[in-house]
């Protein structure tokens, strides 16, 4: 165990003293996971609302599809998006590959089903009579939707935090689409994968602790917002 502890102590010290590599990996991680959570929420939460409140043909199939996509391996998302973003692919001309934006695109695809399914569950678990009552009381559709969202806010927030955690801890998408370029697309998870490849296990675990701290701080900030 000593070989792990030495590297671990070294890694924690490097993080505490603001080692530029650790800091830049933390910055890139925050950058791509916050952006992708934000974008995916904007796209997915309304879809989750539709699935929870509306009836339409094929709804069951859409739900089944989203639930299946929850199990999509991140490397597969990475490869498919690579196919589109490569110079040989249809979007190659945009020159997005091996940049943070490529990772964000992959992460949005990863997070969308997570947010749709969990938002749908959170919204559907609110007593439907609340929405109906507001509508009979003459509230506009918008206002009744807002009432429903307020009722389900804890569940929705949990969905967003789960999505953020998934984005921050993901490695397949980040390494295939980002290329693990130091100081540019190297996230904490791809740095861990690299350290483990080099046999620096202790340092890898220390980076894992840094990642958990980043997620913890984000969660605390969200709780502070929730309380106010």
């Amino acid at each position: 165990m000593e070989f792990l502890l030495d590297g671990f102590r070294d890694g924690i010290l490097r993080a505490l003293y603001g080692d530029p590599q650790v800091l830049s990996a933390a910055r890139v991680t925050l950058q791509v996971s916050l952006s992708s959570t934000l974008l995916a929420s904007v796209i997915s939460l309304p879809l989750g609302y539709l699935l929870a409140t509306q009836r339409f043909p094929g709804k069951g199939a859409v739900i089944a599809l989203c639930q299946t996509l929850l199990g999509m391996p991140t490397v597969v998302i990475g490869l498919v998006v690579y196919g589109f973003l490569s110079r040989r692919g249809p979007l190659g001309f945009m020159d997005l590959l091996f940049a943070p934006s490529a990772i964000i695109i992959g992460l949005v695809i990863l997070l969308a089903p997570v947010l749709i399914v969990f938002a749908m569950t959170a919204l559907a678990s609110v007593d439907n009579r609340i929405r109906e009552t507001t509508l009979t009381l003459g509230a506009s559709t918008g206002l009744s939707a807002w009432t429903l969202v307020l009722e389900a806010r804890f569940g929705l927030l949990a969905a967003i935090l789960a999505a953020f955690g998934r984005a921050a801890s993901e490695v397949g998408i980040a390494v295939i689409l980002g290329g693990n370029i130091e100081g540019y697309t190297r996230t904490i998870t791809t740095a861990i994968a690299l350290e483990s490849m080099k046999g620096e296990f202790g340092f890898g675990i220390a980076l894992g602790v840094v990642l958990m701290s980043v997620i913890l701080v984000t969660n605390i900030l969200v709780r502070l917002l929730q309380k106010s």
């Binding site: 943070p100 934006s101 290329g179 370029i181 046999g199």
Partner: protein, 289 residues
Amino acid sequence: MHCSVDKWIWAFFFVLPFMVHSSSGKLGAQPLIKLATSTSTDNSGLLKYLHPTFERMTGVKVHTIAVGTGKALALGRNGDVDAVLVHARAAEDKFVADGHGVNRRDVMANDFIIVGPRADPAGIRGESDVAAALRRIAEKKSRWFSRGDDSGTHKKEAALWEAAALEPSGRWSASLGQGMGKTLLAADEKQGYTLTDRGTYIAMSAGKKISLEVLVEGDNRLSNPYGVIAVNPKRHPHVRFAMAKKYIAFLTSEQGQLLIAGFRMNGKVLFYPVNGDAPVTGHGIREPS
């Protein structure tokens, strides 16, 4: 008071992602090239040691994507990078012949070695004929670990088994699909044999991560030359060809070659420049002068 704290937190969530984007997303106007390379050049620390000088001299930033020779060449074929630095001579020549790359230059070399446990159950220590050593490992069904990832080292291993007129198959051999570092670690854990480039072996044993020993070395077939190739701008007009040429010129320049020769780990040279005037030893590897 309470409210102003909230404002900061909101700013953290909604402004920060975009702020960081504008500062690092496009990297301003700084020119850059994308280099796909084998894991051995990057994991050893060589590129991190070379690139700052190149970046200072030319103002061109190098984005290194370390993936293994097979994938590096695939990225070059797809036009996703501007240059490749790899080690698989036959595959490199095919890459150029097929029109994917131009301006191929030799950069440096080290050698492959067969490493294994101190106990050496197959008794190959000191064998000068690498094919004979492999045959003995297969005869004794000693544990053999293959990279199995289409890397330069894997391609070399396949050629050596072919030279031994054997195929590593059966329970004694394992194809890992992992990088060199991980394969060395696995061979060390299971006390088996593997083929490795000397650079990664030195880097891994310098950190006392493995206790495997060098058992076979010096056969001419174990030479490990590295080449750099620019992606063909005729096939991929968007590539930064002028900067890729600058990069190739730097690696093969006197200064680049001296830098490579000066890169040491635990006092050991990891890569020998090809344009040095150091004496050539028996197995085609130059000793540092």
